[in-house]
Amino acid sequence: MSSNFRWETFVEAFPLVLQGLGLTVGLTFACFGFALLFGFVWIFLRRIPNKPIVWICTWVMEFIRSTPPLVQLFFLYYAWPVVPVVGVTLEPFTCAVLGIGIHYSTYIGEIYRSGIEGVDKGQWEASTALNFSNADKWKKIILPQAIPPTIPMLGNYFIIMFKEVPLASVIGVGGILFMANSYGASHFAYLEPLTIVGIIFLALSYPSSILIRKLEVKMNTRFDKNAVLSKSKMKTIQGMNLEGSDRIV
């Protein structure tokens, strides 16, 4: 194993490691999408007016959050197939989406809950007074108010998940970490390929977090788009916020 950083190795490994990027990004989107959907499942299960169901849900969520995602992945991949009756063998990719997706759905469910609880009680009462159906109350009144404020938080979880997705390499999903590892194993050179992995993650995460910060500013001023406030006044307000967040950057 070479102990010095060699640019030739770096240049040779780069395209190989990059081949895994599509899978890493694809897996991130798949996991995130699954977690977004499954987060709603938790919310609605916990709102069922039935104590045992709520209790079981709360307990299961607690359990999922308290065990490491790595252990859950191993369990789903190696142990789940031999569980009697419900056990099935899963493809590595499917397994990764389920494992990481379900783990993060418990956090995302909490974010939804905070968003929903943030909606004023009067909004429920007004929609009852106007005789909206339960489905329409959620669709037209509550969720459109509950979700936008959570978007920055959801975005943060997207980045966190992006950084957790390499876990899937342990069950053989060939993302960039998996590629770097294979390169390292076959060439006895780990320093360069793993450095590349670090650079790729940095190059993608950092701009994303800046994007999310901008989104946050936009969400905070979202109901003032056709403002009575004169356009120029709006601009200075937004400008101030942006300046503020730029400084944090």
Binding site: G122, A126, A129, S133, D136, F223
Partner: protein, 272 residues
């Protein structure tokens, strides 16, 4: 009571009609607190009723139960001949489900103390959403009607504004337009001027006066504006410690009452 109600031609017509809402021995407790202790009340079509009384006397609870925001602890509320909070199932009277409540409360509208406009919609969308999604009415027709209604409350030039861009008085006028577009037969007003700056109260009362004069729906107003109650209401209820302590024609209750508690309340009020 019947003599006092027949104060003019209109009231005599009211009396001959079947009540649109009937409260029968309605009580409400929150835990150990007995807010209402047996309310009996008839609301006739087109009748304007003002509910007054000290805070904590249960005024708001009376109309919140009719709007199905609060369930009575006992007793019946009959709307258009149908029991609001109870329904029939195989001959048994059971607690109403959401579908039953939706069927019965369709004729009732409400305006809230804190407006409760939908902040993510323009004021025109606020008015249009319920007729379109709840009543499945024609969008163009609803649009026209909503614009007319917003015009009537003096906001025809602000259709595309969001609630956050309006003053409290303007918001409350939008809330009234939003309720009126649904064409309710009964409108409930829950202390609609209490959250407003004093200089904005007038514009809201003006709109209610206009509605009371020109629309034939029944109205129940929980209010602290005594002069306004005198002006608009056919009938005044004085609520004290969970019971209707006094009721009758507005002038009788507010100006010629012999009930000491009402006198004390009004005196305190006028002084304040």
């Amino acid at each position: 009571m019947s003599e006092t109600l027949v104060k003019d031609k209109k009231s005599s017509i009211l009396l001959n009609s079947e009540p649109i809402v009937k409260y029968r021995d309605v009580t409400k407790s929150f835990g150990d607190v007995h807010v209402l202790k047996g309310i009996n009340l008839d609301i006739h079509p087109g009748e304007k009723i003002a509910v007054i009384g000290p805070s904590g006397s249960g005024k708001t609870t009376i109309i919140r139960m009719l709007m199905t925001l609060e369930e009575p602890s006992s007793g019946d509320i009959i709307v258009n001949g149908t029991n609001l909070w109870k329904m029939d199932k195989k001959g048994l009277s059971i607690r109403a489900n959401e579908k039953h409540l939706r069927d019965v409360r369709g004729d009732i509208g409400m305006v809230f103390q804190h407006f409760n406009l939908f902040p993510h919609m323009t004021i025109l969308e606020n008015c249009m959403s319920a007729p379109i999604h709840v009543k499945k009415e024609n969008k163009e027709e609803v649009r026209e009607r909503s614009i007319k209604m917003l015009d009537r409350v003096g906001l025809g030039d602000k259709l595309e504004f969001y609630p956050s861009q309006l003053s409290g008085g303007q918001k409350q006028r939008v809330a009234m337009a939003r309720a009126l577009v649904m064409r309710p037969k009964i409108m409930l007003f829950d202390e609609v001027t209490s959250a407003l700056d004093p200089e904005l109260v007038g514009e809201v009362l003006e709109v209610i006066r206009d509605i009371a004069k020109n629309d034939d729906m029944a109205m129940v107003l929980v209010t602290h504006e005594m002069d306004f109650a005198l002006d608009v209401a056919d009938k005044v209820l004085f609520l004290d410690q969970g019971v209707i302590a006094e009721q009758g024609a507005a002038r009788d209750v507010l100006e010629h009452t012999e009930n000491e508690r009402v006198q004390a309340f009004l005196k305190r009020f006028r002084r304040g």
